[in-house]
């Protein structure tokens, strides 16, 4: 496609497990508007899904997740915002797996798959995650 749209797409889903698939498919469709490879689209999909999953599992009391995608020719920025009683900033960390453990992979995956990741944590207001992926080609 000759022209790639800059544009903003906003999505709001209930903060429940069954709706994460909607966010995943929508973000894949948005990423598909850019020159991302299939692998890069999968990366964005997983990162956004992990962010939503964390909102659902950790943001107590928030009932909606707001996903805002800003597309430019060569990068996609995604904001994932919840309105739940969040965590302390120092809680959010990523770690490499040295021994098998069930939890703690989500933030690690987000940081691995995206080029820039920033958490904006307001323990009383909710968490705002901003992540950016650049088109490699």
């Amino acid at each position: 496609m000759p022209e790639h749209g800059r544009g903003v797409v906003e999505l709001r889903i209930p903060s429940k497990a069954e709706w994460v698939a909607v966010a995943r498919l929508a973000i894949a469709a948005v990423a598909n508007r850019l020159d991302f490879s299939i692998e890069e689209i999968e990366d964005v999909k997983l990162a956004v899904a992990e962010a939503c999953t964390n909102c659902i599992q950790h943001a107590t009391g928030g009932d909606q997740i707001e996903i805002t995608c800003e597309t430019e020719k060569s990068s996609l920025t995604v904001h994932v915002k919840d309105y739940g009683v969040g965590t302390q900033p120092e809680e959010i960390q990523s770690r490499r797996v040295s021994e098998p453990r069930e939890g703690g992979l989500g933030v690690f995956l987000i940081r691995s798959l995206m080029d820039e990741v920033q958490y904006d944590v307001h323990p009383e207001l909710g968490t705002n995650l901003v992540m950016r992926k650049k088109v490699s080609a």
Partner: protein, 114 residues
Amino acid sequence: MDIKVNVREAQGDIYVVELTGEIDVYTSPKVKDAITELIDQGHYNLVIDLEKVRYIDSTGLGVLIGGLKRVREHGGTVNLVCTNPQIKKIFDITGLVKIFGIFDDEDAAMKALV
């Protein structure tokens, strides 16, 4: 956007759990239930076939890790079948390749268990 779980007995008390679909925060409890049931019945050598899985997230990985930990307590193990490059990549970057045996087909995964 759903998961199908198919459990069958193979030779030598190995059980094969064949998954089809997407494993995410919504569907992974179903996978967990199937694995838990096998372990509760005393089956500690499992092959989990991910060949028809198009997508897995950290909750799915958590279920696999949880299963592995439980069977190990009984001297068993979990081998995975996976060739999808995107899914292998997730095992790679999380370091889980070092914890799971990952094979190209069920036969290989099974032989490595015996």
